[in-house]
């Protein structure tokens, strides 16, 4: 293939961005090349994006990839309408060998060219952010603004971050070295050595329903940038955002002179379960997965031929010990609980509040007062349906709604969920979060850890992930108990986030120790416009990779370093 975009052109266009990204991951200061504001994309962009999305609906989504043996797809927007899009269904016996065909040239291109091709792909995705926003909104149920930001610039940031780490990791060893070992009076031993970053094989990206691009891009771009072909297996309810991504990646690969089959799509027929069969194919050497603990554990156990990176369920905790900004704390927590109806892997689930109350700048507040005030803050935040819908989005699937409907059975409701009418999509299932009161007395959760004690212990609802808009206001006997329950929860159940409010330096240190001991990311005293459930690429790590919620963090060197191997050739010189 003749390249329409040469490496030189790519370098001129994108090398400065790559350098800035490399600098950002070193300093961890704020940086992003992807504008967050919808207006930054031009006056006609919103209408153009919507039109582009509408044009995709009710039609086959063509991809000229090998091995297509039919068409499938039945996405229904959480806002109501069926998307009516069918995607090619792939025969892996044809597609996988075709994906390997271009590996040699992709490997030979080297780390910089691969990074620049990824950056061109991300730039084209960025230019179509409004179209992606619609696709993410109508598959995940996110409200438009969140679909725009998290599905667009923030996802692109995480993709770029992965590319930067991949580039950095692959270039730590020089391409060549001369080695000369002195031998006393004899001639030195001399070797000429070359070092090449070589891919592992085909990477499988198993997408999720809630954040198809944000959770998908790190693995996709980390694998591609390290030389591996990537087979994208989207969640059947959230195909479109990743199908668009695959199409753009294939276009860029072709235009830069590489085999477009280095990136391909695998959409499953209803009930087909292709993730399970693809995951254990010998060609698949890397897997990235976001979803349930059950399937994540299955992948880790069975896909032994592959490097497996999983993000699974967890139970996120906020410890409330004391605060010097009671109103700010309540507002911040109310927003965190409401955003995307609590359907983020980072949403707090358990709020641990001392039974005897907490010290605040507004005086002592009892457990009941804190709970009541928090419920009021949520109610106030979501009082207006239009504003509420813009924050909550829609419930992503019937499972979430069923869990929410069952919340009252889990304990006394401090705040009941209410149905919100969406101004534009009357069929959307929009619900405010429920807050359940729970007993955090030590005897409820403090077993000795033995299998017998565990089996005999009563089931504690708040010690399982209750994915969706259900949180627990857990009354603990003391902050010390809260710390122990936090430790127990992170160690046994995992956590993507931990939050805490305290004015006590000693409690702060104790919280840090628990999080360092159990590998959890901690946000302290957030009372303003940063929320515990949000992380910023290039600066914050998403998850730690060190507790049961995820075996990898987004994004660090460990996330990329094992996606390739360094192959050395040494020659006598």
């Amino acid at each position: 293939m003749a390249a329409q975009l040469s490496p030189q052109q790519l370098a001129e266009k994108h090398r400065p961005t790559l350098d800035q990204a490399l600098d950002a991951v070193r300093t961890r200061a704020y940086w992003s090349p992807h504008p967050e504001h919808p207006k930054a994309y031009g006056e006609s962009a919103p209408a153009d994006g919507l039109a582009a999305f509408q044009a995709l609906r009710g039609a086959p989504f063509a991809l000229d990839q090998p091995g297509t043996d039919g068409w499938t797809g039945d996405e229904i927007s959480p806002y109501g309408p069926a998307l009516g899009i069918e995607y090619p269904h792939a025969d892996p016996d044809v597609l996988l060998p075709a994906m390997r065909a271009g590996m040699g040239a992709w490997r030979a291109a080297g780390p910089e060219t691969r990074a620049l091709v990824c950056l061109e792909t991300l730039a084209r995705i960025s230019a179509r952010t409004h179209e992606f926003a619609q696709a993410v909104m109508h598959t995940s149920g996110q409200a438009f603004m969140m679909a725009f930001q998290a599905g667009g610039p923030h996802a692109q940031d995480r993709g770029l971050e992965a590319v930067a780490y991949a580039y950095q990791e692959q270039t730590r060893t020089p391409a060549a070295a001369d080695w000369s070992k002195p031998q006393g009076k004899r001639d030195p031993l001399e070797l000429r050595k070359t070092f090449t970053a070589a891919p592992r094989g085909i990477a499988l990206l198993i997408g999720c329903n809630t954040f198809p691009t944000w959770n998908g891009y790190p693995g996709l771009f980390a694998s591609l940038a390290t030389g591996n072909p990537v087979l994208v297996k989207p969640h059947p309810r959230a195909v479109l955002p990743l199908a668009l991504t695959v199409r753009i990646a294939r276009e860029v690969l072709a235009e830069t002179g590489f085999d477009p089959n280095l990136v391909a799509l695998a959409v499953e027929r209803p009930g087909e379960g292709i993730a399970r069969t693809l995951a254990v194919r010998p060609e698949i050497r890397i897997i990235d997965y976001t979803g349930s603990t059950a399937f994540g554990d299955w992948l880790e156990t069975h896909a032994r031929q592959a490097q497996v990176y999983t993000e699974k369920a967890g139970v996120n905790t906020v410890v409330i010990d004391s605060t010097d900004d009671y109103k700010g704390m309540l507002a911040n927590l109310a927003f965190s609980l409401s955003l995307y109806s609590g359907q983020m892997c980072t949403t707090p689930q358990n709020l641990l509040i001392p039974r005897d109350g907490i010290a605040t700048d507004a005086g002592e507040k009892s457990y009941d007062e804190v709970v009541t005030d928090l419920a009021a803050a949520v109610t106030k935040l979501l009082g207006d349906d239009t504003r509420a819908a813009g924050l909550l989005g829609a419930l992503v699937n019937p499972g979430v709604k069923a869990r929410l409907d069952d919340a009252a059975a889990l304990g006394d409701l401090a705040l009941a969920s209410r149905a919100v009418t969406h101004p534009d999509f009357p069929d959307a299932v929009v619900r405010t979060p429920a807050l359940v009161k729970a007993d955090g007395a030590r005897k409820a959760w403090d077993t000795d850890g033995s299998a017998e004690a565990e089996a005999a212990a009563p089931e504690v609802p708040y010690l399982s992930e209750c994915f969706g808009p259900v949180s627990f206001a857990v009354a603990v006997d003391s902050t010390e108990d809260a710390l122990d329950l936090l430790r127990r929860t992170v160690r046994d159940k995992g956590a993507m986030t931990v939050g805490a409010y305290t004015t006590s330096p000693a409690t702060e240190r104790a919280l840090e120790d628990v999080c360092l001991d159990e590998s959890a990311q901690l946000s302290l005293n957030l009372t303003g416009g940063v929320y515990v459930n949000q992380t910023a690429a290039f600066s914050d790590f998403h998850g730690s990779g060190g507790n049961p919620a995820a075996n990898a963090a987004l994004c660090d060197a460990a996330f990329v370093a094992n996606r390739f191997r360094v192959i050395e050739v040494r020659r006598q010189s």
Copy 2:
């Protein structure tokens, strides 16, 4: 504990060495701070080292570690005498909690202090290299010079290399960062962030019989430098070198103000199999293992709570296509086959030689001529018993001798093994290598890869690892067949090393492609004093981590990056 050695003293003493190591892994040029020559350690060092070793014999090896519930040990030197040393046997229910007690302070010490403590440990080990040489010689059966070099400076180099990588990886993220995100006309969002390298938990090092220090130090020091306590479980036949290492590490930890229990020893009673029970303990979060494929696979499958790094069996190949230095090639190969009686994981097993012969600077040589000439080169190299014993060492265990005794059943012997009388140790089992002729016709090994074909195919002896002094001169129909057999062997059986001799640029490129495709480290046209079975720390990678022989390379970023997690604490500022 009051530190006798302060961080400042450690930095003055070792920071320059750490910086040089960091520079070496970047440039991959030759470097080592550990002298290779026995005379470099002082005039009395050989006698002192021998005396120190003799003083250890026939006595209990005391370690004041918690949980000692008895004594065990029955090492017998491959050179004949029983060592008569008993080691503490540990109750893991007592020892493991005690090992965790010092983790907080070790974590808080930070990456630099941890690295410097490791360097002090390595420096003290280095000062006792002659003692270690005796310990390695009389457990592995290596000849003295090899035990000295591979068990001493080369092992210390690999340990230091791991420390350098660990330090580099932990310091890539800054300890703290200020993050300020513009908000248009509003005040920026501001956070103060701290980042801490936090260990995973206790690391288990499962040592091997042949290279207790060389194969043990990378994992031991990588884990310790990243903040993890390390429990050392030596091979029951090769306890002493690692017991000495543990004792020194504990001394240094105590003298630098840390808990000595961060490093401890677990020696098993005969038949106890403690590796299997320790490996699945929840406290064990990292495992390093060198040994059989069967147990390595078991660890990877069952020790799911841990990061598992394994080096297992493989089948190393040398492709012989052509050479412009026939004599040099024969001499180089003869040495490679003889060194430590072929008991290196890097020793070539299969020499693929075209049936129709090869082009050389000494004219065309038929398969039979190459095989005869190579056999003659080995015979000449090992003609003198004293010299032979100094190169071969002793067979490490009866299993190796049994395999060698059975070699004649595997095919025609181009070279029979002969017994060598060791000048100093008449009871040592010293044997020269055997070379077996084998048929490499494509039909012998080229199945279609299906399980049925595999099951129906006759067993091909050279396609299994035959650990010890047995190699195969495999007659292939062409160099193209050799390349295909090489690919098949690496993909299915794994390889720590690949060697090749060719004067053809096209063949060279094809060899490189196979090794890049299948993740194997390639040595080309070695005819001088560098051998395919030797790698140099800071420059060469040992294994690739990308084929079945090992899931990790020594040493790269991937070997260290997942032994710790970066924990972030962010505070509103």
